[in-house]
Symmetry: C2
Subunit: 320 residues, 2 copies
């Protein structure tokens, strides 16, 4: 049997979808999660699969992650603090959970002689990009959020490890991901609000912020496609669709699907929170040149996500 | 009296020169250093000055740095692991001493309500730049050393703190700095070798690596000039001269000044060590547009540095 893949954040939104896909491809998987935000139920299917082994542990515990990783061949590092909005409330969390944790993962790889890593980075590292759509080699950006800064730090550590030790990396700069098991972000917040009070919706900012989204299945397709190709030591790829939408567009799709017509109150300003980027739109020509194209548009992804949440009310309760 | 400036790495090469300059300008200074590589003797003059106070402490000790910083107005954060060559030997050191330490400094500033920081970054964050001379807004680089990655992480944290909290930053990307109190780098290594065996010199790489240098006095002039101007939240500036030299040029100047003609043995290859960048040359048009220009050329800086080392043999012994 092939050596297993190691997935950090295996019980998370993207991580658990990745685990299921790897298992479906016949690849054994060691899933690693501390269940701080991960969900046992996301792994229900995987846990019945003989190729899956779950290790409960924290990526901040180097010994634990090193032991769990033993014998694996490829690391998918998805564990992160993904709450971009709350950097100001706990300024150390991003540094620890994204940068220091990534160092631990790299060090565990080095100690175990593991040579391949895929990393979930973010379009937030472009800060407020001057070039839109933003390509991977855009002008050197200035960071605008602790989340983005900590992911940039992680990217830098990964690239330096690749240069210094015998490791190859695929760094994926995601737009916001939607789809089954989606469990935080604006669709989640709006759905929860409209469940509690269908006649009223509070929106951060002025509703004109323009954002990009990608369906989790398209995201995973792109990751697999990229990792089959790429001769470089470090491959950096934007992952998104060739479109964006305004927050107000998304509100329209969500309300339409739910059949509600709430009064909308905007908190105002062109940013929803400190470090919010009023326009995120990535140039994805590089990943498209590998033969990948998304199957879902943003509208479809938003509506599918609403439908997933409608069928999985337990998730809203678990995230109170 | 004005509120003091706070200098981390105050007993280091650049830090101690900065302390002396600030005191000469009539500005009180709190110097902070753990003396892991700093030198008491660099602060001999400062310690006799009534405007100077020295605090022994580590930037990795948040409480200590927070207490020491109380009442200061501007922070000059120079404390760092500056040994770019040895990342592979202790892969955690750069992360701790550059990224985590910078987070501590920022957090201490936030807790003390201090709103200005100057940061010693490095041209190493450009990795192997594709655009040479390299401007501040060159294409988003891929990191090639743990040192560069950790400085990039620090830059990102600083910028994110500026966006999130009420802080303004000046980030200086230095080439290698030379001049009085210079105490590590190729001139130091070559001088030490030639003192031990004047007829033989071992050189890492092929001698054709092209590097840029700046005199510490010019470096400090640029820092002061930049901090008088700059309306941006985050000002990023390259600091270097408009020239570069090959390692072999520098060897010629050093040997000429010392009156030696050693047999030279090259270890070979276009890189002296893993992560070594064979060509560093920064575009410094931005800082020049502020009216600054260097007074010393690279040749003069190298020779002055050799002369400083000749007059300060104790420094070689202290760095065994």
């Amino acid at each position: 049997m092939a050596a297993p893949s190691f997935v950090t954040g295996a019980a998370g939104f993207i991580g658990s979808n990745l685990v299921d896909r790897l298992l479906a491809l016949g690849q054994p998987v060691v899933g690693y999660d501390n269940f701080s935000t991960g969900q046992e139920r996301f792994l229900e299917g995987a846990l019945r699969h003989p190729g899956f082994r779950l290790v409960r542990g924290d990526v901040l515990d180097l010994d634990a992650v090193r032991c769990a990783m033993l014998g694996c061949e490829t690391v998918y590092h998805l564990a992160a603090n993904a709450d971009v909005r709350f950097g100001a409330d706990h300024p150390r969390r991003d540094l620890d959970q994204n940068a220091v944790a990534t160092w631990n993962v790299l060090e565990a790889m080095r100690l175990n002689g593991i040579g391949r890593i895929a990393f979930a980075s973010t379009g937030s590292i472009y800060g407020e990009a001057h070039v839109i759509p933003t390509p991977e080699d855009c002008p050197f950006p200035v960071q605008t959020s602790l989340y983005g800064a900590s992911k940039l730090a992680a990217e830098g550590l990964i690239a330096a490890y690749c240069e210094t030790f015998a490791i190859r990396a695929w760094i994926f700069r995601f737009v916001s991901i939607l789809g089954a098991r989606y469990s935080h972000g604006h669709v989640f917040d709006f759905y929860r609000q409209l469940l509690e009070h269908p006649d009223y919706l509070r929106v951060l900012g002025d509703g004109h912020q323009r954002k990009s989204y990608l369906h989790v299945e398209d995201c995973l397709d792109a990751i697999f496609r990229a990792m089959e190709s790429g001769a470089e030591k470090v491959t950096v790829l934007n992952l998104g669709t060739d479109e964006y939408c305004a927050v107000n567009d998304s509100i329209g799709w969500i309300c339409g699907r739910l059949g509600v017509a709430p009064r909308i109150e905007y908190t105002g300003g062109d940013r929803g929170w400190i470090g919010d980027n009023p326009f995120i739109f990535l140039d994805c020509a590089k990943v498209r040149s590998l033969g990948w194209a998304p199957r879902y548009g943003i509208r479809e992804s938003v509506i599918q996500t609403v439908e997933y949440l409608m069928g999985n009310r337990w998730l809203l309760e678990s995230r109170e």
